[in-house]
């Protein structure tokens, strides 16, 4: 995922969860979260249980999300430079410049109180943290691939994007109001397959099975993603009757995947098994000798270690494949298939 993709991802998440984007550029967002997004992202379960129990008006958090650090900081510097030249004649009348150490005399009584506070702080800390005090809290997050915030967004979309029931939006141009368009229901499943020994790789699969005919399509998600979908049944549409049960369709997905997986090359597994066997041989050689020469009372302990070491090696190297669903849904698509 490059910065652009991250940026688009973040934007789509914020928009689809109803967050209020206050300010944005190709490098950043300033956003006030929607209650839904706040619950997912800010880790404030106590606050939200308080809101739920008392019915208080929730106050969601705002964030500065930076998706392109370099660009954002450059633009900030440019903006700062512009501000400081603008303000030069106005000599420190904005709160922004109150913290800088120019020693300009305060103009208003409010500013003089501020200055007193600052100097009190300065006496104990040698520094004036006025920037922190004068602006509302706006935590900054650098969002890049691998950052905690993005991983959290990944989790959030996973938990709120698992099961869907959708209809394709009809193409309005070619429709006559007197004719009903036939739709076919499909079971769509996206799957992650993990090939694992002491190392690991993954493959993603996407299948669609027509509930009318049992026909199975591959790369189903790719075909869907360009279509417009709606959760509501469009007018002038009739759904083809189900020819097979959902269970049968699920079975077709399982069988298709299994057939494809069996057709793969398993050199990696053979090599892993070889490593496993070698390690087991070394361990047996070592412990068998040890057991032969050991005192009786030590034997139990040695055997225990021997077994646990064998189990560790098996855990580490044994080749295995697991398939899990990323998400799934029922999709009603135009046409009969």
């Amino acid at each position: 995922m490059n910065q652009k993709q991250v940026h688009r991802f973040v934007q789509q998440y914020l928009e689809s969860t109803g967050c209020h984007i206050i300010e944005k550029s190709p490098a950043h967002f300033v956003v006030k979260l929607s209650p839904e997004a706040d619950r997912m992202l800010t880790n404030r379960p106590y606050y939200w249980s308080f809101v739920d129990r008392t019915g208080a008006e929730p106050e969601t958090m705002s964030f500065l999300l930076v998706t392109d650090k370099e660009k954002y900081e450059l633009s900030q510097q440019a903006a700062d430079a512009a501000v400081s030249t603008d303000n030069a004649p106005a000599s420190g009348s904005t709160p922004r410049t109150a913290g800088t150490v120019t020693g300009t005399p305060p103009l208003s009584p409010g500013a003089s109180v501020q200055a007193a506070v600052n100097s009190a702080l300065a006496r104990s800390y040698g520094i004036v943290p006025s920037q922190l005090l004068s602006t509302p809290r706006l935590p900054r997050d650098d969002v890049h691939f691998g950052s905690k915030r993005l991983l959290q967004l990944f989790d959030a979309v996973q938990s709120r994007g698992s099961y869907v029931y959708l209809f394709q939006e009809p193409d309005t141009r070619s429709r006559s109001p007197f004719q009903s368009t036939p739709y076919t229901p499909w079971l769509g499943v996206n799957l992650k397959v993990e090939f694992q020994c002491d190392r690991k790789r993954e493959e993603l699969y996407s299948f669609g099975v027509s509930l009318a005919t049992g026909h199975c399509r591959e790369l189903f998600h790719e075909q869907l993603s360009s279509l417009k979908m709606t959760p509501r049944l469009p007018s002038n549409v009739h759904i083809a009757p189900a020819g097979i049960t959902l269970n049968k369709a699920i079975h077709i997905v399982e069988m298709t995947l299994e057939r494809k997986l069996k057709a793969q090359c398993y050199r990696w597994a053979e090599e892993a098994q070889q490593r496993l066997d070698e390690e087991q041989k070394i361990v047996s050689h070592y412990y068998d000798k040890l057991l032969q020469s050991a005192d009786e009372e030590l034997k139990a302990e040695i055997t225990r270690q021997y077994d646990s070491r064998k189990a560790e090696i098996d855990w580490q190297y044994r080749p295995r494949v697991t398939a899990t669903a990323i998400n799934c849904g029922i999709f009603h698509l135009q046409g009969i298939e």
């Binding site: 905690k148 993603l204 669903a325 990323i326």
Partner: protein, 613 residues
Amino acid sequence: MAEHINSRPPQANEMSQQAAGCKLHPLVDYQFDRSWQQELQSRISRNGPWDDWTLFKLAVEAQEAQAIATFDEMQCLRSLPALQPMPHQLSTAGKVVHEMGGRAILADEVGLGKTIEAGLVLKEYMVRGLVKRALILVPASLVLQWVRELNQKFGIAAVAQKKTHMWHYDVVVASIDTAKREPHRELLLNSDFDMLVIDEAHKLKNKKTTNYQFVTQLRKKYCLLLTATPVQNNLDELYNLITLLKPGQLGGQSEFAANFVVDKRMPKNEEQLHEALSTVMIRNRRGDGGIHFTKRIVKNIPIQLSPEEMALYNGVTGFVKEQYDRSGGDLTSMLSLVTLQREVCSSRDAVFLTLVNLFKKTAEDSPLRPKIWELVDQIKQITANTKAEKALELINQMNEKVILFTEYRATQEYLLQFFRSHNLIAVPYRGGMNRGKKDWMMDLFRGRAQVLIATEAGGEGINLQFCHHMINFDLPWNPMRVEQRIGRVHRLGQTEDVKIYNLCTIGTIEEYIVNLLHEKINLFELVIGELDHILERFEKEEQPLEKTIAKMMLESAGSTELKARFDQLGSSLGELRGKPPLDMMEDTTDKAKAQAAIGALLNRVSQEVEVRP
């Protein structure tokens, strides 16, 4: 979605009804997770709730972005845009993951970044989903540093174990001495760790210790042992370490002894031993001239004290000597007096505090009291601090970040006040501050303060490569402490020549000390590590240097005698400089021979790397 063309015929039982658990290949178990099917059924029958189409698509996009396409390529660097590991660190991590199955001894020389290598391996496994739970056992003093590095450099949410329930976190850093004690022990031995990392693993070289047995019993999949000295005196140490990692890798104990060891210590069949070692151990060491440090430029700033300050100095010196003579030359009880002598070179504030404390401690009718009071009166006469003024002048001239070291808290406080009254922003740094405050002070210094005033040079986390000016406001009498101070600034990562300013007051003992350290030992320009050798040799024959100096000062009758004795000390130290290190001098003994052979073996296993600051 890469697919591989298969050469193997499809299996006979293709239409198996049990998709949830079967074999794809005689060697490969296959699990199909069916939990989604029920959930989908139940949502259909309840007519919802249904999720959002955009989020559905984003979920797939997220999985596509995170999918691990190949077994071989390192994946973790995509997730760590801010980290720039050195080439040898990357290749080491790659080798551990791809060739060693995730069990290895990382035995790089000090300073080459074993922690980075371990972090890379851990991150790689975590990104691939092969490690979720990891336990990191380190000496207690390094726990917080590990937690910080893993969080900041690697984005791994590691926690320092403080309460029992924290063992259940995914990545826990703890001290091994805590971990092996009940009730922790029981809990840990009943857990499965995807990865175990042990820092300073040479402490596990003895099979009989509880630490060793504890680590043996822990259930772990991947395991890294970190140590700069995998073997010191005895090949058995190496054998034990490897047995901890992979029992049997070097055969049984007797086989190992028969195949690889002569006379307990000397290695034999080095070719095979080397081969066996290289499957479990990686050692990088610095190439010749691999490290290029920038220069150190030293400048002594002579300072003429004002008459009042000189009077105080003489007064204190006289007082200290008189007390020493009266006590009959007993050095141990003179500690606070020697402190007084050192403080008077720093600031009047420092002396004042010690004098007042001394005054409180003496009995009310003691003849000492009026004398102490006299000195306090002398302090009152002083209106300006010549040294502080000079320091201010220096700092203003430089107009860059400066770190200023003093030995005394009172001086530090005074300087903070003094600089502030002259519109110079300075922040303090001392050993007593907690971690958070130290970090904060560092951030302030990096950001907006021009000066950092530190009383402590030791300890972790004070890496100041961004600053290349340093002022010794006063000098410790222990040269190692001076070296420590310089090491904060002059280290890997420093790109500028480092400028060191020594403030020294003329006509005081400080003048002699600066002269001794600078002219005679040439401390400021020594190669790193050389000072250790000199002091080791010096202290073998005499007492520690700072004690020698204290004694000289107390016993000398006048400044001529003191000067003569300093010259003598200087020349004897100068002689020691030229000699080879101690351990090379006694290589007639068997022990030394064995060590040389072990060293040669380690060198064969290791590879040289270039390290640039």
